[in-house]
Structures are given as C-alpha cells and as structure tokens.
C-alpha cells in the first residue's frame, strides 16, 4: 500500500532541524536549501532524492560537517555538529581512492589516523575488503581497478572507520546501470548485515526505491522537503525486486513528484543561458 507518512520520532540517531543554506553569488543571494527538517532512525536506510540543483549535495556537505555556514542545526546522538563528526562516515561521488596507496592501505587509512597499530589495522582492513567483495585485491593499486571496484574500495574505507551513520553522495553516479544495480545489491547486503544506519543522496529513483526504508523527496531550488515516503517492500531485498509491480508504483509516484521539480530546473537552466547570452540587459 502506498502511504505517505511523516517520520516517527522514535529512536532518531540523526536529526536535522530547519537547515537552511544560503550562498552569495554574482547574481545575488541564492537559497540552496530552505528549512529542511527530518529524522533518521537507528538502523534505517533513508534516501534523499531530488532533481539536479535541489541542494542535496550541499545538504550532504552540511551533514558531513564540511560546510559550516548554514542556519538550523544537525544533531547526531544529541550532539550538535560543528565539523566532521566521528559518528558519520562519508562516501563521496567522485573518485576518491588515494592513487599512491594500494587497496589495503587505502582501506586502513582512517584506522591509521587514530593510531591503531599496523597489524591490527591491516587485519581490520582486510575484513572490510572482503565484505565489499574485493578479497584478493589487497595489494593492487587503484589504477589497476575498474571504476566500480574503486568505489567499493572507498566504501570499504569508510566502513572500516565503523561509523554509526553512513552518509553517501551519489556514490554510483559514474557507473553504468547494470554495475550500479549489482553494487546496490552489495551495499544492501552489507547494510542489512551490519544493521548500518545509512543516508543516501541520489538522483536515481530506481536506486532509491531499491535500497531504502524511507525516501525524502526534495523540491528544486530552494530545496525543501516535498514529501517523505515509506517504502513497504519486504526485506531482505535484492535487485530482483526491481521488476515487481509494487516497485513500479513507488517509482511512478516518485517520478510524478520529481517531474515537475525537474522541469522547473530545466526551464531555469535555459533562462540562465539566455539571460547571459543577451548580455544581461536586465540587471
């Protein structure tokens, strides 16, 4: 049954309250995100989906503590965030493996920072490397791996720091659809095994419905919460579910919401180009 409900306040491990982000640009102040509030429950998989330009990557940076200038508060386990929080682990959209380190040294990086002794951190790293399915590749360098494999290394590296909340920004955006579906399976497996609280930023509807317990749909800039949807598909899930009728209905519903936001975005872009071409006659 398709229901849209507001999130339960229950055991929220991360709360965002009235988060707003404004930038000064050449054309004046721009509100990227406007009063977004939501809660993330322990162990749940929450996706934030929206069209390009809805501010979701900016939101990612705020939650991750990499962007300090914002209104509103983000709290993790009661503590207000004022910089990268030790309970949050980030996985970035771009290629982020260190090309000069091999796989096991990449994955052990966060453990190295905390001063964990070498033997222990290599062992811990190997455990997570196996978890993402790259066992046997420990001594390879990122340059020898495919894009999908490198993203798995980045994922293993973040998991190795054992964060309470996994925060991912479109980690599979650069991959082809088939690889993405299979990696999505992998991430689901891991999340279900670790009961890892996960916050995924994405523009891909299929990905969001495949993986999430709840989906937060954002409007185009200024980004607000348009709707929060409970995904009642059974768990444990795999990518097989992509073909089911229920899946299709969720996707259709979300696309309905997104289509009008995405159209606004498109029109905005076109106007922006026209405005510049005319030499900015009006202001």
């Amino acid at each position: 049954m398709l229901q849209t409900t507001r999130s339960a306040a229950a055991d929220a491990i991360l709360t965002a309250e009235d988060v707003a982000i404004r930038f000064e640009t050449a054309e004046g102040p721009v509100t990227a995100v406007d009063n977004v509030s939501f809660r993330v429950r322990q162990g749940e998989f929450l996706s934030i989906i929206g069209p390009s330009g809805c501010g979701k990557s900016t939101l990612f940076n705020v939650i991750g503590g990499l962007l300090a200038q914002h209104a509103g508060t983000v709290r993790v386990g009661g503590e207000t965030i004022s910089g990268p929080h030790k309970s949050i682990g980030m996985v970035f959209q771009e290629e982020s493996t260190f090309p000069w380190r091999n796989v096991v040294d990449n994955v052990a990086f966060p453990l190295e920072l905390t001063g964990m002794p070498k033997a222990k951190r290599l062992e811990r790293a190997r455990h997570f490397i196996k978890m993402v399915g790259l066992g046997g590749f420990e001594n390879r360098y990122p340059g020898e791996l495919s894009g999908g494999m490198r993203q798995r290394v980045s994922l293993a590296r973040t998991l190795a720091s054992e964060p309470k909340i996994l925060l991912m920004d479109e980690p599979f955006a650069a991959l082809d659809e088939q690889t993405r579906l299979l990696l999505g399976d992998k991430v689901l497996q891991i999340q279900q095994h670790l009961k890892q609280t996960t916050l995924l930023i994405t523009h891909n509807i299929t990905e969001a419905v495949q993986m999430s317990d709840r989906i937060l749909v954002m409007t185009y800039r200024p980004g607000k919460v348009k709707r929060i949807i409970d995904i009642d598909l059974p768990r444990p899930r795999t990518s097989d579910i992509v073909g089911s009728e229920e899946f299709g209905r969720y996707v259709a519903q979300i696309w309905n919401d997104l289509r009008e936001e995405a159209s606004r975005g498109l029109r905005d872009e076109e106007e922006h180009v026209l405005h510049h071409e005319r030499g900015g006659a009006s202001s």
């Binding site: 991750g64 990499l66 990268p84 290629e95 000069w100 920072l113 990122p142």
Partner: protein
C-alpha cells in the same frame, strides 16, 4: 601439422638484438669514426678534435688522479648545499603560495617571471656578499634552484584533487596528517619534477660560478684545461661531468617513482 611446426621454428629464429639497438650502435660507431677521421685529418686547428685515444688516456689520468676526486668532492658538496637550502626553502614557499590564494596572487608572478632569467649574472653580487670561496658558489646554486622548486610545488598543490582533501577532512585528519598523508603524496610528481629541475639548474649555477672565479671544483678544472689548452683533459672533464649530470637526473626520476604503476 608439419606447416605449423615450420612457422614456430621461423619465429624462434627472430633476431635476439632489436633493430633499434643496432641502429643506436651504428650511429655511435659512425660518430666515433667521423671524429677519429677529423682528429687525424689536420683540417682543424691542432687539438680542437683530439684523437679518441688521447681522450681515453686523459680520462684514465683524470680518474686515477686523487686531485680530481678532491675537486669533485668540493663541487658535489656545493651542489648538495645549494639543493638543500634552495630545495627546502622552495618547497616551503611553494606550499605557502599553493595553499593561500591571496599570497599567490600577490607574489607568485614575481617568481614566475624571475624564474627564466640567467642567474649567473648575479655572480658579482654573490662574490661581494659571500666571498670568493664556496659560499658564493652555493649561493648562486641556491638562487638558481629555488625558483623551479617553488613554482613546481605551488602549481602541484593547486592541482591536488580536491576530493582527496575532503576525504582527509571527513576522517578528521589533523593538519600534520593532512600534509604528510594527503598533500605531499598527492603532489609527488610535481615535487619530484621540481627537484629534478632544481638539481639541473643548481648544478649549472654552481659549476658556472666555479668556471668564472674559483680555484677548486670541477668548473675550475674545466676552465683551467681551457687556459692551458689541454684539450684531451677538457674533453675528459666534460665527458665525466655530463655522464654524472644525466645520470643524476635519471636517478632522481627513478627514485621518485615516476614510472611506476602508482600513477
């Protein structure tokens, strides 16, 4: 079946020495032959092109002379000092300029435009400031070496992939960890290239200073051979010098891991 056997045999008979190597050997031999011909032809003034035998003998005399090794030591010492002082200050300044946009816009242009000027013209000033001994040579070498290192490091720092910096921050690395574990490894190519370039110009600066005014060092030996018109000795000195210079350049490149898989 018999035919495939024949094909295999043919490929097994492929030349062990590649045509490239053969061509190289041919070129070298050709040059040496022309040289020897010119040496004996009497066309050029006396010893301008000495015979290969004379050069070989001079090389032998040179390398077995402890005096030579002393002078080589002096030169190497001067170059090492120049590279150390110029290199370290270059890296520090490069890191500062690379890390701070305001400072870069204010000062980097000066480095950029001063870089490709011949530093040897500063030598009279260096002599005034540091005397006629090794000090002025080291000073000139340092001055030469500072610019390419600073510019390479500054440019390298700006080219560091921004996402790698964010990874470090997301794992709450402190400043020292950021520099040591992220910035410097990410910059190893520009740094190594900067050092290679710096070594090259430090070498030139130091040696030219020695040829101009010195009583020690390889540069002095070269200009001394010129003033006594001992051509075989000059050629011997130059040969050893060039072999060392090119070798050092290649060594730095290799040590810096420029050709490895690590990218």
């Amino acid at each position: 079946m018999a035919q495939t056997g024949q094909l295999t045999k043919a490929s097994e008979r492929a030349p062990a020495v590649s045509p490239v190597t053969l061509l190289r050997i041919a070129i070298v031999l050709g040059v040496l032959a022309i040289w020897e011909f010119l040496a004996h032809s009497g066309w050029l003034y006396r010893d301008v092109v000495p015979s290969l035998v004379a050069i070989g003998r001079a090389l032998g005399v040179l390398l077995s002379n402890p005096d030579y090794w002393f002078n080589l030591g002096v030169t190497l010492y001067e170059i090492a000092c120049a590279l150390a002082i110029g290199g370290i200050s270059g890296v520090v300044v490069g890191l500062i300029l690379g890390g701070n946009r305001f400072l870069a816009r204010a000062f980097e242009a000066y480095l950029y435009y001063l870089g490709p000027t011949p530093k040897i013209i500063f030598f009279p000033v260096m002599i005034m400031w540091f005397g006629v001994g090794s000090g002025s040579k080291i000073a000139l070498g340092t001055l030469s070496c500072f610019f390419p290192v600073a510019l390479s490091v500054a440019a390298g720092m700006r080219q560091v992939d921004r996402v790698l910096v964010r990874v470090g921050k997301s794992f709450r690395a402190n400043t020292l960890q950021m520099i040591w574990k992220i910035y410097l490894p990410a910059m190893r190519h520009p740094i190594v290239n900067g050092i290679r370039l710096g070594l090259g110009v430090a070498l030139i600066g130091t040696l030219l200073a020695e040829t101009k005014l010195s009583n020690k060092g390889i540069g002095f030996l070269i200009i001394n051979a010129y003033s006594t018109f001992d051509m075989p000795r000059m050629y011997a000195n130059l040969i050893v010098l060039f072999v060392l210079a090119i070798g050092a350049n290649a060594l730095v490149g290799r040590l810096g891991g420029l050709n490895t898989l690590k990218g």
